[in-house]
């Protein structure tokens, strides 16, 4: 008889998000780090940068935790009380909710508004 898996609060959305937090910066090499796709999360109105870290991580106000753009077709969840964690240079080409933001603040001198700030060096290049 297969042992029934015990419920674990560690095997839930928080765990997925925690993993998202620690695994977001997995870019390898210079090229992957330097690439900002034409349709990137950082260019979307729904992306809000994390006030905690400015490596470019943030969360989506529409797409929820558990979504996955890397599978085909993409898995997009719209229910839940935690937004999906993403990076400014994450490819959002498969996201049906991508909504291009008109004003992107790449100047880091003023204090930031997480909704509009994208002060990473790569974003400054991508927006110029």
């Amino acid at each position: 008889m297969t042992r029934k898996k015990r419920s674990s609060r560690r095997d839930n959305k928080w765990n997925q998000m925690r993993d998202g937090l620690t695994n977001l910066s997995t870019a390898k090499g210079v090229e992957a780090r330097e690439t900002v796709p034409d349709i990137a999360c950082g260019k979307c109105k729904n992306f809000s940068e994390s006030p905690y870290a400015s490596d470019g991580r943030g969360s989506c106000s529409v797409v929820k935790t558990g979504s996955d753009f890397t599978v085909d077709p993409p898995l997009i969840l719209l229910e839940g009380d935690t937004g999906m964690m993403c990076m400014f240079n994450m490819d959002a080409a498969k996201c049906s909710h991508f909504d291009l933001m008109d004003i992107i603040d790449t100047d880091g001198n003023e204090c930031a508004d997480p909704q509009f700030r994208r002060a990473q060096r790569q974003m400054e290049k991508a927006m110029s």
């Binding site: 928080w14 998000m17 925690r18 006030p51 905690y52 009380d81 935690t82 880091g108 003023e110």
Partner: protein, 828 residues
Amino acid sequence: MATTAKEIKEFEEKQEWWWVAEKTRSSRLDYLRKAVWKKGALGGNYAPGIEIDLEFPELYTETWQENEGDPIMLRKAKSIGNVLENLPIFITDQSQIVGCVGSAPHNIVSYWQGASMINEEIYNEQGILPQPEEKSLERLAALNEYWGGNTALDELAKVLDPEDAVKFMSGAIGWGTPSSAVGYATKDFRHIGKGFENIIEEIDENMERTDKLLRGNPSPDLLPLYDKLPRWEAMQEVLDAAIEYAARYARLARIIAENFETDPKRKEELLRIAETCERVPAQPPRTLQESIQYDHFVQVVVRYETYEGAMPHRPDYLHGPFFDKDVNINKSITRDDALDLLGEHLIRTYEIGIFSPRWTREGLQGITGTWVWTMGGVNEDGTDACNDCTTAYMQVARLVRIANPTFSFRWHPKVKDELMREIFECIRHGLGYPSLRNDPILVENAMYWHGHPLREARQWVTQSCMSPCPPTKYGCQPFRMASATANCAKIVEYTLHNGYDNVVNMQMGPKTGNAVDFKTYDEFFEAWTKQMKWLLNILVRTVALGRAKDPEFFSRPILSAYYERAVETGTDAVDYTNGERGNAWVTAFTWVENADSLAAVKKLIYDDKKYTMAELIEALKNNWDGKEEMRLDFVNNAPKWGNDDDYVDDIMVQCLKTTAAHGKEIKCVCGNNIPILPENVSGNIHYANVVSALPNGRRLGDALYDGGISPGPGLDKKGPTAVLKSCGKIDHVLDGRAFLLNQRLSPTQLAGEKGYQLWKSYVKSWDDLGMDHVQFNMVDDSTLRAAQKDPEKYQEVIVRVAGYSAHFVDISRKTQDNIIQRTVQGLG
């Protein structure tokens, strides 16, 4: 062309104190002041020319990789040793104090062992990469890939409760990194002052004694001893490396003196630098120069171990006896010579530059760490500890006019009038420091909250910006508070929105119920209390685990060598089982919004019933859009803190007492209590776009209030006495710890003797009301507005931000405006 006394007088009359400083300081100080690089971020970005040091992390990582099998502290000690023994060093022209954090004067450093997200932020950062950029990117990518997923914070995130980890790192509810990778530690200067070679000998004795025990009768008691040996070895390794680091400066100074220097006076100075570095830190200092050099080496060396973001310290107490001996007794140097040394001490400290993640840069604009030096105060026996060196530091601060370090002055009733005049001069010259700290109140506070014995409490230093901590064997705190900083405006925000955060799109706080259903203010306050407890608990839980795991994930060999209790027990300084008494607190950013918002809800929703809760929540969710009239009603017709109005002041006191009661329920890792410490640095600007609209009339994006108990800018309408009376209703011992109060005074009104007497009367009222802190900005609006228009001309204007000072031109426009908006109080 020499400046005439008449010209200086004119600058004084125009209150252009920066020109007075430039024209009256020694040529050496003038050169050194102008030669030092500005390393604090300008708002959120670093100044042009500032570069991240890549030599340091590469040297560190190289040895780290070679010693994979070693216990962490020994592995780390060897890595630091490689850095101290091989990183390029330099001696600045005309300087007499040596040692720098980084391999070049324009460099800032970072610690790749700390946090992957900071490492990646450095990679992504604008403008700080050494040229050629392509090569730097390759070097950075290589470092990041080695450390990625393996830093102290990565390791901690794996063991934290996932919900706690996500919410803590959301950036919405708090600040800080729960690791000593980013923090600050009190230093045990009495122990450090023995000299590093003597500490090495103590460790030798401990190791010999332990070796003997390990060869004796077997016992479970022996088992922990095996782990102590490599820790002691690690402490010796870093102390030896620090001695070698100093010796390298000695050799460099001799080489320059004997081979290149043609000026006989400078040659003599270089040889004195060499002799000094051959003496300290290996042996205890004998002269003022040796004492300052020793102190500076202690501070520099520990910053090759970690981001030490503060400088808990009593330099006048430490260097005072040497100052007195050299200047007043032996007369081996003149007072002007001594001022040059003290002035350079300030400049060399200003030179320390550490990369800060953006949230820290925004919260500490214009500086690289809160180097708040503690001055004055009392001795262990309660006698006045102020000395000639205290006076000299005040005088030289006005000459060099740097914004970091700043001074926190431990005021007590025995302080002499002459010294008070020196302090007032610093404030009048617009430095924004020293802040005044009420010594008897804070000694009592340290005893009440953490049980520090009287003689130890009397030795307290400012741990960071504000909190007192005794720098004693069992009083020293190795880990910032530990790192819990709460964005307290979220308490009232979550009370209104059932715990949901609309900025970071997450259910953050507990679901305390739909506020529309609260029938009474008491029900509303009950929900507020639940949100407050949740906020403190999640932050303290997270940092407590970070603290407990720190010796395993990060490790502090240098700090351990600096702590008598760690040397004695063969433990990591951060290990909470080695006898530390515990001195933790939770910094309460954006605190006063709670009192003003609760008062507005009580008055306009529950008492006057002018609006319904549903209307208010709707208006807040829409950021008051289309409800300007209603918003202004909440701004103007709800009572505001700081006007001696019991309606709102009672709410403030109720909030504090409720929180203090919870502070007595929760414990730090040492088992001690945790008070809140209301202050803001420039977190009020950083959080402006993170805190939603509030019932005090604030909109998302508006700056939050600037102080810990300062009234909202422009909302204190009844003058300075009313502000003091409101603040005086707080029990500054029982209700928390160290309540930051910003006050703006008029430089015109406070000119001359009359101005001094007015200020002194103000200080008396402040003391009579039992308050523990106050700091002053005394630069008029016209100067600040002129500096906004023409920053090049006003590079040296300094302002008190909150808990620290900064050059006005180095802070963001929003922060500048926030300072200008603060009410200028007329005294008398």
